[in-house]
Symmetry: C2
Subunit: 662 residues, 2 copies
Amino acid sequence: MSLEPLFKPRSIAIVGASRNREKVGNVIFRNVTSSFRGKVYPVNDKAETIEGVKAYRSLREIQDQPDLAIIAVPRDFVLNVLEDAGASGVKGAIVITSGFREVGGEGVRLEAQLVSKAKSLGIRFLGPNTMGLLTPDYNGTFAFADVRRGDIALVVQSGGIGAYMLNWAQRSRIGISYLVSLGNQADVKEYEIIEYLSRDPETRAIFVYIEGVSDGKSFLEVLPEATSRKPVVFIKGGATSQSAEAVMTHTGSLAGSYDVFKTAIRTVGGMFVENLKDFLNLSKLISSSEPIREEVLIITNSGGHGVLTLDAIVRAGLSQIQIPERLKVQLSKILPPTSLPKNPLDLSGDAGRERYLNALKVVGDLDCTKLVVVESLPFLSCTEVAKAMLSFKGKGIVGVLMGYDEDSASRILESASIPAFNFPEEAVSAIKHLVSRPTPRRKIRVSQPISSAMEIVKGKKVLSDIDSLKLMELYGIRTPRWGVAQDQEDAQRIADSIGYPVVMKISTDEPVHKTELKGVFMNVEANQVREVYSQLSKLSGRVMIQEQLSGLEVFVGGILDPLFGHTVLTGPGGIYVEVLRNVSYGLSPVYEDEAFQMLKESKLHDMLTVRKRGYDEGSLVRTISTVSRLIVDLNVAQLDINPLIVNERGSFAVDVRVVLNR
Amino acid sequence: MSLEPLFKPRSIAIVGASRNREKVGNVIFRNVTSSFRGKVYPVNDKAETIEGVKAYRSLREIQDQPDLAIIAVPRDFVLNVLEDAGASGVKGAIVITSGFREVGGEGVRLEAQLVSKAKSLGIRFLGPNTMGLLTPDYNGTFAFADVRRGDIALVVQSGGIGAYMLNWAQRSRIGISYLVSLGNQADVKEYEIIEYLSRDPETRAIFVYIEGVSDGKSFLEVLPEATSRKPVVFIKGGATSQSAEAVMTHTGSLAGSYDVFKTAIRTVGGMFVENLKDFLNLSKLISSSEPIREEVLIITNSGGHGVLTLDAIVRAGLSQIQIPERLKVQLSKILPPTSLPKNPLDLSGDAGRERYLNALKVVGDLDCTKLVVVESLPFLSCTEVAKAMLSFKGKGIVGVLMGYDEDSASRILESASIPAFNFPEEAVSAIKHLVSRPTPRRKIRVSQPISSAMEIVKGKKVLSDIDSLKLMELYGIRTPRWGVAQDQEDAQRIADSIGYPVVMKISTDEPVHKTELKGVFMNVEANQVREVYSQLSKLSGRVMIQEQLSGLEVFVGGILDPLFGHTVLTGPGGIYVEVLRNVSYGLSPVYEDEAFQMLKESKLHDMLTVRKRGYDEGSLVRTISTVSRLIVDLNVAQLDINPLIVNERGSFAVDVRVVLNR
C-alpha cells in the first residue's frame, strides 16, 4: 500500500485535538492548520470547537473522507480510533501516542493489535510513539512550527534528536523538506521512508538518525537504489555495548553489532558518521551546491591557522594541491614580499578584503576545494572576507570563519549557500566524508549448496574438526595435508607420508582450546611421532597429524548477524586476533573486489606484501569470497578458520570450526 | 636576568608610536595607555604629540628611565633603538617588528645582532615578530583591547592564534590573565615564560600554542616543576610532515617529530590536545571551578541524546557510574512511570525545570561528573535548565545545552563558572583530557659509560653486527648463543656447540637487509651446516651462527631527537614494525614504570600476556630501560634491536645495529 496518504494527504483529521495549548494535541492542531492548505478536521469528544474551528466528536461524524488521521489520544483509545478511521475511509495515520512496545508488557500486546487492525482496514501508519511528520505540505509534529523550508530530509528514531535537528537547521540556515519521526515502526519502516524520500523531487539528501533497523533483509534490498539517487547519511545511536543497553529501553529496537551495522551502511552506499557534530556539519556541506574535491587549497591570513588547517587535512587523508607555477607568478604580485605563493597560501596578517578576492580570482579555476580560513583582526573582519567570497564567481569554496564576527559572517555565506564552519577540523571532516561516499552494492544471496557438503552438515549443530576440514575441501579451500591416527603405527605411517616436520594435535568433536590443553605439538620429527602420539592419546581418542606450514597466520570467520544476516570477518590471526582487533567485515556474498578492500582495512594487505615476500594474496581473496557463500549455503551460525596460513603457495585452512544455525 | 621588567614594568615607552590609527604603533599606544596605570612615553622622531600625549624624538630624550620599551619601528632601525634603550636604562623590550629570522637571509643576520646587542646592554626582550604582551597590568599588544580579565594565561607562537584565542575567550566568557606572543624567541624563550607564569598567583592554568620548542634540554629541565604547580596545556601546530614544512617558513622554528614532541610534553607533565576545538573546550572546563571526575552520570530529557552521550563516554574510555539502589528509590518518585532510574537518567520529554532540579538534588552527593544534557523543547528551554543548575548547590556539574536558546543558556552557566558545551562529544573530550593529566617526570641524564663499551665504539661511526652484539652483552642485555665461522669446519664446530636447529646468516660491518639479500637461513640442522656455509660465504666473508629462539619478536630502538635528545622506541618487531606502526616512545632515561607504560601503549603488553603464555615481560622492561641509558652513555645516533625475542626465559637481542653520533 502506498505511503501517499501520509506524505500527500488532501485532508487531515487530528484526533485528540485539545483546547489546552500545553497539550500535544493542541500544538499539532495549530501546526497543521498554520501550514496545510487542505481541509483540517479537529476531533475531540468533549469540545465544540478547537482554536475556533468546529470540532467533531468522532472520525465517523466527519462527512468528508479525510486521507490522514493524526492520533494523539490516550493509549487505551487508540485501537477504537483506528476502527473509526477505517470506517471513515481514512488511508493513512500517524500515531503520536506512546506507551506501546517501548514500555514492554501490555504495550507490546496492544501494539500487535494495532498492526493487525490497521492491516485489516487497509491503513498504513507511522508510529506509535512518534513526534509526527513534517512535509513540504504540512507540519504534523509537535515540534517548533518555525522551520526553514528547503531540500534536506531528516529521518529520526528519536523525537528528541528530531526536534534538536530542526532547531539546528533553523539556526544554521539549512532548509528542511521532511522530518519523519519513526517512532516504534510498528507498521511503516525506515527503509520504506528512505525509499519514498529518495524518489521525492523536493529532497536533495536524506539524513537518518537510527538506533537499529527494523528488518535488515529489506533494508539491504531497498537501500542501494535509494542511495544511488541521492546522498543518504546515517548516524547510529548505541555505538557501544553500554549504550546499546540504553537503546533497548529507549525505543525497544534491537541494536545490532556496531561494526556490522557500519559495514551494512557502507555496503548499501550510505554515508556513515560517528558523532552528531559531524552529522550536522555534513548537512551544511551537502545542502550547499559547491562542488567539493579531495584536493584542498588553504587560503588564510594567519600562519598559525594555516598550519593547523593543514594538520587537519593531512590527518584526514585529504590531499594538499600544489599551486601551478604560472599561478605562483600571479600570486606573487598580490602577496607582500615576505609571503610565499604556496599551499597553505598565507595572505599575511595585513591582508584586506581585496587581497582575499584577488587571490581567489587567481586560483579560481583550479579544480580543488578552496578552504578560505579567516581570522578576524583589527584590520580585517570575517564579514569582509565573506563579502569577498560572495563577489568571487568561482566554484568550490568553503569558509572557515574564526573570530568575533564569525556568526554574522557565517550568515552572509549561508544566505548564498556557501558552507561556513568555525573550526578547520570541522570543515575538513565534512569534506572527507563527502568525498568518501561509498558505491552501493546489491547483495543477492543465492544459496547453491554442494550436495556432499549438505551431507556433512545434515542433522548436526556443531561439526567436528575433521568434518570442518572436509567441508573446506569440498568448497575448494585448501588444507595442509592431514590424517587421523588410530594408534602409534598408524601415526608413524601418516606422518611419514606427509613429510617432516609435522604438527600433531588432539582431534575433537567439540571446539576446544587445543593449545591451552597442551594438545598441540609443533615441529615433530620422525623419531618423535610415537612418543608424541602416546602423550596426546591420553587427552583424546583421536590424534590429527598435519603438514607443518609456514606463512602469515590469518583469521577468517563467519557470523550470522541478527539484523543483516551472514557476515564474513577477517584479520590478523593467531594471537593477533585478540590483541590487535584489526577486524574487517563484509556482508555475504563478498565479491572479490570487496574482499580485497577488507584486506586493506584490516592491515592484512600490508602484512602480506611487506618486504615483497610474495605471499599469495589472491588465494586469500578467493577464500574470503568462498566463505561468504558457504555460510549462506549451509546456514552457518558461526565459522572460524584460525589460523588460515597464507604463503607463496596459497591459503591453507589449518584449524576450522563450524557451528550451524539450528 | 629577570623577566620582571617585561611583566611588571613601572613605566613603558612605545617606540614607533604613530599618529595613524591604522598603524600597529598607534594601536599599541592606545592599548597601553587605556590599560596601564604607570607612566607611558610615546617615541616618534617626527611627531610632537601622539593621541594628545607629548612625544619624544628618541628614548634618550626621556628624563625618567622607562623599565620597558615596546619597539614597533621599521626593521632596519631596531638595532639603533635597542642601543638607545640601553643608554636610557631600559631593562626589558618587546620587539614587535618583523622581517628577521622568519624571512631568512639578511633577517637571520640582523636577529643575531639584536641578540648580542641586548646581551651586552643587559636587556631581556620578547620577539622580534611578536604581537606583543598582555598582562594584568597592561595590554602591550596590537590585538583587540576588549579582553575579559581572569586567570587563564595564553602563550602562543603565532600572533594570529593569539588574537583568535583572545576573541574566543571573550565570547566564551573566559577570563585571561596574560597573552604572550612568543614571536621568534630570539632572546626570551617559551620555557622561561611558562616558568614565570607557573609562579604567578593570578594565573590558574597556562595554555600554550607551540610549533617547535627553542631548546629541548632547558624545556625538559624547567617544565616538570611548572606543570606540578598548575595545569599547562599544549597544542602543537605542524603535526604532520607537510605542515611541518609550512611551520618552517612560518616562524622559522624547527618542528621536531610529532610523536617525540607528544612524549616530551607528557613526560614533563603537560596536557596535550590534538586540535583547536579541544584546546578551547578544555580551557572552558579548567577555567571553571567544578571538580571533574572520570565517572560520569548523564541526566537528560531526550533518550536519543542520552544514547549519543553514552556512546561518546564509552568511546573516550570514561566510566559510567551506577546509581546506588537507595537513590533509585528516590529518583523513581520524580520520574514518570515509563522512565527507569538508570544512567543515562532520562527525565523524559515532558520534564520541566523542577524535575531537573529535583533529580540533581537526589544525585548531588554522588562523587562523579554530572553531565546535564538538555534539548530545548516547546515544554522546556535550555535556559530553564541552566537556571535549575544554578539553584543546585552541589558540585561537579557540566552542561551540554542543545537547541534554539543554547547560547543564552550557556551565558547563564558561564556567568556562574559552570562549564557549558553544545555537543556531548565536546564535553566528553574535555573531561577525558582533564582526568588524564599526566604526572611530571624529571629526566636526569647522567652518563656513566662502561669503559669496555667505550673501547668498542671508540673512533667508530657505525658498529659491525659483531660489535653491536658485544655491546648488548656488556650492558647486560642477553643475546642468543652465537659465533662467527671462518670456514666450514669452524661452522660445524660452532653450530654443534650451540645445538640445533641454528640460524646462519651473513655477518657485516655495515647495516644491510640480510633477508632481502637471501643472507639468512633459519632451521639449519647439523647435516646442512656445511652446505649453508658455502652458500653464505659467497655473499660475505663472515658467517654468523646463532641459537634459534622462539618467542615474540619485539623492536627496541633508540634515536637522537634534535630537540629532546635521546629517545627510546618500542613496538611489535619483525615485519610488524612497518605494518602496524604501534610504536611508543620514551625520553632517556626511561624508568621501569615508564617502560611498562610504553608496553601498554604499543600493545606489546597484550601480546606478551595473551593466553597466559608466561613470556618474561620484566626482562623487556629492563631492556628498554637499559637501552635508554646506553644511548646516552655512548652518544648513539641510531640503535635498532630487531628482533629482540622475548620468551619465557627472558629477552634476547638477535640482530642489533648501532650508529654513533659523530
